[in-house]
Symmetry: C2
Subunit: 503 residues, 2 copies
Amino acid sequence: MKSKTQTHAERWGLFELALEGTDEGNPYKECLLTAIFRHRERTVDITGFYDGNGVYRIRFMPDTEGEWTYKTASNYPELDGITGRLTCGAPAAGNRGPVRIRNRYGFMYEDGTVYHAFGTTCYAWIHLNEHLQERTLRTLASAPFNKIRMCVFPKHYSFNSEEPVYFPFVRTEAGEIDFSRFDPRFFANLEHRILQLQRLDIEADLILFHPYDKGRWGFDSMDRETDDFYLRYVLARLSAFRNVWWSLANEYDFMKGKHTEDWDRLFQIVQQEDPYDHLRSIHNGTRMYDPGSVVMYDHGKPWVTHCSIQHWDVTLTAVWHDLYKKPIVIDECCYEGNIPQRWGNITGEEMTRRFWDGVTRGGYVTHGETFLHPEDVIWWAKGGELHGESPRRIAFLRSIINGAPADCEPIPAVYDVPTIGVEGEYYLQYFGLHVPAYRMIELPDTAEYSLEIIDTWNMTISDVPGKVSGKFRLDLPGKPYQAVRTRKITSDINNNPICHKQH
Amino acid sequence: MKSKTQTHAERWGLFELALEGTDEGNPYKECLLTAIFRHRERTVDITGFYDGNGVYRIRFMPDTEGEWTYKTASNYPELDGITGRLTCGAPAAGNRGPVRIRNRYGFMYEDGTVYHAFGTTCYAWIHLNEHLQERTLRTLASAPFNKIRMCVFPKHYSFNSEEPVYFPFVRTEAGEIDFSRFDPRFFANLEHRILQLQRLDIEADLILFHPYDKGRWGFDSMDRETDDFYLRYVLARLSAFRNVWWSLANEYDFMKGKHTEDWDRLFQIVQQEDPYDHLRSIHNGTRMYDPGSVVMYDHGKPWVTHCSIQHWDVTLTAVWHDLYKKPIVIDECCYEGNIPQRWGNITGEEMTRRFWDGVTRGGYVTHGETFLHPEDVIWWAKGGELHGESPRRIAFLRSIINGAPADCEPIPAVYDVPTIGVEGEYYLQYFGLHVPAYRMIELPDTAEYSLEIIDTWNMTISDVPGKVSGKFRLDLPGKPYQAVRTRKITSDINNNPICHKQH
């Protein structure tokens, strides 16, 4: 029996078909529900899911404007053979589609707009109380971040021992987790948050498995059948949200029960069951404490779209680029804060330095914050408010990068200072802890360039007076955290001489 | 014909036998001169050398007190069969013998005193004018360094283009280097400087080959026969100075004409021709710019006594310890200064941080200084004066390390903060850029400990009031560059309660 049906969707928006059926037995396990969506000669296979209370849903993210038809199939007769039509219109303002791989260094939205990843980390924010979740969203609304790392499963860890209200699986009346039935109330909230993030232009980098459980609930040690059951359900429910990324696991190597073959299998399930090919990666743990080793789960495997790395040494970006030929996101490089744990107590200066250093090597770096709090409301786990000094500087860096040419790439010829740019057009170089009194800049003598000295900590941009061609000695302020931006002066600018502040 | 002869020497002092002979032909090439020194049943084979003007010398460093006899052998009849006696007495105060390998982490003098390497770098100081050489020695006399890296050959490089007065080889009247004859005037000065360093308790880490020549003199591209000829002469002249170390090359990988087999051969010559088995290593170049790679000339080879490494990442110390099982000296990790070159423009804070980080991982770090100077008198190349902020802090660190138990080793169990110590007795931990608000200290509850917080930059040591046992929360000042020293309170101290400054 067909319920009230959506007939319009925007490109990369969410189309949802809700169907009514039986609530008897265990439809999570027993019901097979699929649909074929067709646009002209092209078809897309979609898997539906049971949402409890006799409601079944099929979600679809159309990627092409125009008329689509669909037809369901199911082993439940009342859900089988249902047909319909859907008109896909233009995307609304701000909807640029899912994030895709642009080239070996970076990302873009599907509409072609470059996407520079400036992520943060709030692992368990959706597992906390409603009030705090809303507080986190308000913070995010004015923060510089466009990606958030967050877990599907709740987290049992230092500074984070709250019992969530809902779980991905239901609990029995005795309080046991029933690994055969999902809890739609949990997913409804998760989806609500994903949509709120979407409106804030934030990608939800969803962590599908993690080790922070230690026998409390058992989500880190489910059997293979339950892992797959869970994963397929998540994929059926969430794939149609354009702003999801799949992070197979956080600190996968701390999950001793799973091995490389398991991760390969789970990756392949994601690859097969997500019709939209959202970004996929996996995040390592111990390598953080294993200096010299740069080897982790082989990010060169075909189902890994980009590298999601934990390492404190962001200078290794070039090594990983060479090794994997994929975009590098250093999703943990230590967090700004003051907790006792070594990964959670670097200064704002150092967090900012790692951002600049990674970005000027052509990688991306992810933020996290771990300041002690009287109620243990620590951003990295629970969200809430930001207290650190780095977010403002990350916003400043993001504005610099947003103003850079889309084709910026690492420039290895400048071997001694991390540099991204477009040869002959644009260079952004970062000196970090290096404090040269001057630098010889060598530019083509066939064009004119403007130079600026950027104080990345104090967030000032100082013009170097005059136009520069060829070889030039640039005096530098002799303090840490300086960058230099060099831009070719176009004929337009030549006609309207640029205004120089005194340097 | 025998000249006036020395008959006494102190243990590890210099015995020198000067012989007169012909100045005809080319004795550097043609004369074979050796001596056998005998103490009881033990004999030591020594090679002599021609010192010009008809003077031949045999130098010997006796390592055993008592009576020695010797007898020369030569293809020059007037130098052959000369015998004599030598009484070796006790070493004078401050003479502790040559530096030896103590264990896989460190060094000791031959008398058993622990030697902690706190080196600096003045590559070409002996090639500058007399006045500047004396100035350098005065600086060294009040500096915290007990090792200096210095080149035998002159250096042609940025900030260093002076023409020396003397070279290891003589010049023809036309100004050409004559690679068949050495210049004793050059060596007389070098030896004078080595002895002056010896009086300052400074080891001369002599760099035997280097690439900083580029066709100016040709010392970097001598043929194999000349390399060996030079090396054997240096060994015959200098091995008997107790404070020499052999650094086969600086940045060996920049000497494109030499390959691993060449370095192996040269190492083996040193090993065979130095009767005293002085320390031997070789120093790499490009790995500085090759993040992630920790492989260089195989320091595991039997003729390499310790690792002399260039790398900016001193956290790799543990990796190299595992790989080579030999003491690690990071002889270049960038220099404090402000020259444009990336390796020469880190801050005093960062130089100091690298020292502390390397040392609390069980390695050693070497200093260098590269501040622009109106006459290009830059310490790292020419010596002169020190201008930086790190030497005072290195002196402070050295005083801390000198006060630590001799058996300190890296404590890998403290995985998250670099720590050296002796389990249950002593711990020295360094937090560097990490700023935890507190740290949980876990100590045996069977003993009492004193804790101190060391501000490594401001050079203060603050006692934590009270005695500590078992698990203890230590509040930390929340700023970079802090260290914590934990010492077991001995019963002696228990009887005389330690005085606490307020923390």
